[in-house]
């Protein structure tokens, strides 16, 4: 592994959820409505559930896709909810009554990613080897050049409007709305599973199938490879200041420090605690709280601000354990609350005091 286990004995504080509800099916993804009232959940049997954030009560549930619903996301204004599934369909719902606004059938493949544009009326989706841009009401706006391999991830550039990146086998690709062909290709011989821009847009990080992570320093494009993970790296997250990149790929969260000279030649911070592989990692949208969920059913919430101060002791770790289930997804709502979805269909909502 790239570094040593941290030496301190952390204090542990039990974190109890505000509420817990069960969808009775593997939760693929959860998304909060921008006004903070509702949570939408996508499940592995093709359903979408709407849960009230106040009390965790199920407000509605419907069958949206054949096979599974992989993605669900509220538009930035909260006016629409979009879902993508293993039936190559992209569906837009009106948030008022969840009636269908549009249904788009792509060619075969799975909708593995969808992103609402910051303007509310555009929706970007990756399905198989294609990326397409639709209007909210189902009109195809742009069909980007088909890729050689299936697109594994799709992210907006955090600073440059209309720019986005995709990943796949042997490359990450940078695109711009209005141009059908890629703006730039960042080659790396390997299968990239996950990408994430640093919030300042200066680094594109990639998690790879061959138990490694890769980063490109932008705009130059020089790259660094981080080896030695226990398994494939599909969990990556940046803190809001672009200082820390947290990565999974094993039972420990591996934290790379991009301050100063950056991580080249440095040893990462390794956060142990999980009994199995980490399945999801997310920094809070502000501050330095890092949430990790694992195949062991554990969620850890750790404040990494101690890493910025020499000799500082870490605050107690917050821990929650769900027996017999894997944490399958996790999302923050603001800096101090988050929800987790589990393999057994549980959704739990936590508030940090």
């Amino acid at each position: 592994m790239p570094g040593e286990r941290t030496a301190f004995e952390p204090q542990i504080t039990e974190l109890a959820p505000l509420w817990r509800t069960s969808l009775d099916d593997y939760v693929n993804e959860i998304s909060f409505s921008p006004n903070g009232d509702l949570l939408a959940a996508a499940d592995a049997s093709g359903g979408i559930s709407i849960v009230s954030l106040d009390d965790g009560k199920l407000r509605g549930k419907w069958q949206a896709h054949q096979l599974g619903t992989l993605k669900v996301q509220w538009s930035r204004s909260g006016k629409y909810l979009a879902s993508g599934g293993q039936d190559a369909k992209l569906i837009v719902y009106d948030s008022k009554d969840f009636s269908r606004v549009a249904e788009m059938s792509l060619r075969r493949g799975w909708i593995e990613n969808l992103l609402w544009h910051r303007k509310d009326d555009l929706l970007l989706a990756a399905c198989g080897k294609q990326v397409k841009l639709y209007s909210f009401d189902g009109h195809l706006i742009q069909d980007f050049v088909e890729q050689k391999s299936t697109i594994s991830d799709l992210v907006w550039h955090p600073q440059i409007p209309d720019m986005f990146a995709t990943s796949g086998y042997s490359q990450a690709t940078i695109w711009h709305i209005g141009q059908d062909s890629p703006r730039r290709t960042l080659a790396w011989k390997g299968s990239i599973l996950k990408i994430d821009y640093s919030p300042n847009g200066k680094v594109l990080a990639a998690g790879c199938q061959d138990s490694s992570a890769h980063v490109w320093l932008l705009p130059g494009g020089s790259d660094l490879r981080m080896d030695g993970y226990a398994t494939k790296v599909k969990e990556l997250t940046w803190d809001s200041d672009s200082t820390f990149l947290a990565s999974g790929g094993g039972p420990q969260a591996v934290i790379w420090d991009f301050s100063g000279k950056g991580p080249a030649g440095s040893k990462p911070e390794m956060l142990a605690g999980h009994d199995g592989f980490i399945s999801v990692l997310k920094f809070a949208p502000s501050g330095l709280l890092l949430a990790s969920g694992g195949l062991d059913g554990l969620i850890f919430i750790r404040d990494l601000s101690y890493l910025k101060k020499r000799k500082a002791q870490p605050a107690p770790w917050l821990v929650h354990h769900q027996e017999g289930a894997e944490v399958s997804c996790l999302n923050w709502r603001g800096a101090l609350s988050l929800a987790a979805g589990y393999s057994d269909g549980t959704i739990a909502f936590f508030q940090i005091k």
């Binding site: 049997s45 299936t150 086998y169 199938q209 061959d210 199995g276």
Partner: protein, 460 residues
């Protein structure tokens, strides 16, 4: 990590050229297993005719791995799809993966070794290769993919048997057997075959490594016959004119005494190595005095040619390059009146069809291996020849260990562990390699160097 209470879901991979009957077999599996929850991952040209089957179409995406293993490729699409299918509450009982006609099965098999998620949730049950018995010979010699599909298979279905004669099928089966000694071979018309022969074959289950004994066709030995005789220095070898001007002959000594044909056959491996060594030319009238040494008998003289045995009394195996009847060979006592009959004999088929490029090499011998030497040898072998070794399996007896050591591999990927203890049974090493351009002598000698001492050759 929570215990994985549910058993791993088995996956069968169906390979075969276009038109071999692969889709017919797939539809048959789906029909005959009605009620089971079967998911099919179908290639882009698939034509599943069963409406209620869960079918996921997929492009075969081959990814190279940067793990220092030059031939390690995986099916990226399978990793994505299999992991996702396993999330469903109503988990599948079985998953079938249909490959395109020209697919190399290695990336599919390697996916199950390399990806932790796939390895955790699913088990590769077997690779089933469907063959169009009528047309396979048209591309068998020219197509590396066709050979790979045969070499990788756990089960081979010779389909469309109604279009060829039994003799043609026998010849085809022999040819295929020479390439893959490990596979079970079945014959079918319209892919009609007992599902138990296709599903749940446990081809990659270490617990069942070599549970089905490999069927080796005899390799092309450089000799056609062996006979076992009790000889002493009064015996003579007599030969007459024959089809060739010379014949190679090798004598090996038995330490045991009980004649047994299978053991004669077993000596063949050792004899083969001697046949590649330097030989001594011998004219009629000269003496055969050395054991484990190859002689070339000059048979250019007209009439009866006699060679003397200058040996202490004992039981010997006489290996001859040609069949004895071709030279009316006889071993006689001193007086010349009595012709000795072999106590046991074995003929080795010559000229059976044999693919030089893809073949199986089996090693079976007594003795215990030194695990350090064995690891070094196997590591070195896989590093250097891993690209050519398609599959291997083995059970070996490690010196000082009470448990059997079982292993298997696909190209450079290796999976091995101590297995159950040796019971009241003979501790024996059994290893099989299937691959391209395998050098039998090198493999056998390499393995034998790992043995703590030479295997005992006596009859038991």
């Amino acid at each position: 990590m929570p215990e994985n209470e549910q058993r791993k879901v088995p996956v069968t991979v169906l390979t075969g050229f276009l038109g071999s009957g692969k889709t017919t077999l797939l539809n048959r599996i789906l029909t005959e297993n009605h009620g089971k929850r079967i998911a099919v991952i179908e290639n882009e040209f698939g034509e599943i005719g069963i409406d209620d089957a869960l079918v996921v179409q997929s492009d075969e995406e081959i990814f190279e791995m940067n793990n220092g293993c030059i031939c390690c490729t995986v099916r990226g699409d399978l990793i994505r799809i299999l992991g996702n299918l396993m999330r469903r509450r109503d988990r599948f009982d079985y998953i079938l993966v249909e490959t395109t006609g020209l697919a190399d099965p290695a990336p599919v098999a390697q996916t199950f070794f390399v990806d932790d998620e796939v390895h955790e949730l699913l088990e590769l049950d077997g690779i089933v290769t469907v063959i169009d018995s009528k047309h396979v010979l048209l591309h068998l010699d020219s197509s590396p993919e066709c050979k790979e599909q045969i070499a990788f298979a756990d089960v081979i279905l010779l389909n469309k048997t109604d279009l060829v004669s039994t003799e043609e099928l026998d010849r085809l089966e022999e040819k295929i057997r020479a390439m893959n000694a490990m596979a079970k071979i079945f014959r079918s018309k319209d892919a009609a075959v007992d599902m138990d022969n296709i599903l749940n074959v446990k081809g990659f289950d270490l617990d069942r490594a070599l549970a089905v004994k490999p069927t080796f066709l005899e390799p092309e030995y450089p000799f056609e016959w062996v006979g076992q005789y009790e000889l002493d220095d009064t015996c003579k070898l007599e030969l007459q004119d024959g089809p060739d001007p010379s014949m190679n002959l090798l004598l090996m000594e038995y330490q045991g005494s009980k004649p047994h044909e299978t053991t004669l056959n077993g000596l063949a491996e050792q004899a083969m190595r001697q046949f590649s060594h330097e030989k001594t030319k011998l004219k009629p009238g000269e003496s055969l005095s050395r054991i484990d040494h190859l002689y070339e008998l000059n048979l250019n003289t007209p009439g009866t040619m006699t060679f003397n045995f200058a040996l202490k009394k004992g039981i010997y195996a006489v290996f001859t390059q040609h069949r004895p009847e071709e030279f009316q060979m006889a071993i006689k006592t001193n007086s010349g009146e009595q012709t000795l009959k072999p106590q046991a004999e074995h003929s080795f088929e010559a000229g059976h069809s044999h693919d030089n490029e893809v073949s199986s090499v089996g090693i079976e011998c007594d003795g215990n291996i030194n695990h350090i030497k064995f690891n070094e040898w196997l590591g070195c072998l896989l590093r250097e020849k891993g690209a050519d070794i398609f599959r291997m399996k083995g059970i070996v007896s490690v010196a000082g260990e009470d448990q059997r050591f079982v292993f298997q591999g696909v190209h450079m990927l290796f999976d091995g562990r101590p297995d159950r203890p040796w019971l009241d049974e003979k501790r024996i090493n059994q290893v099989i390699f299937i691959g391209r351009n395998l050098n039998r002598n090198e493999l056998v000698e390499g393995f034998q160097k790992c043995l703590v001492k030479e295997p005992h050759l006596s009859l038991k």
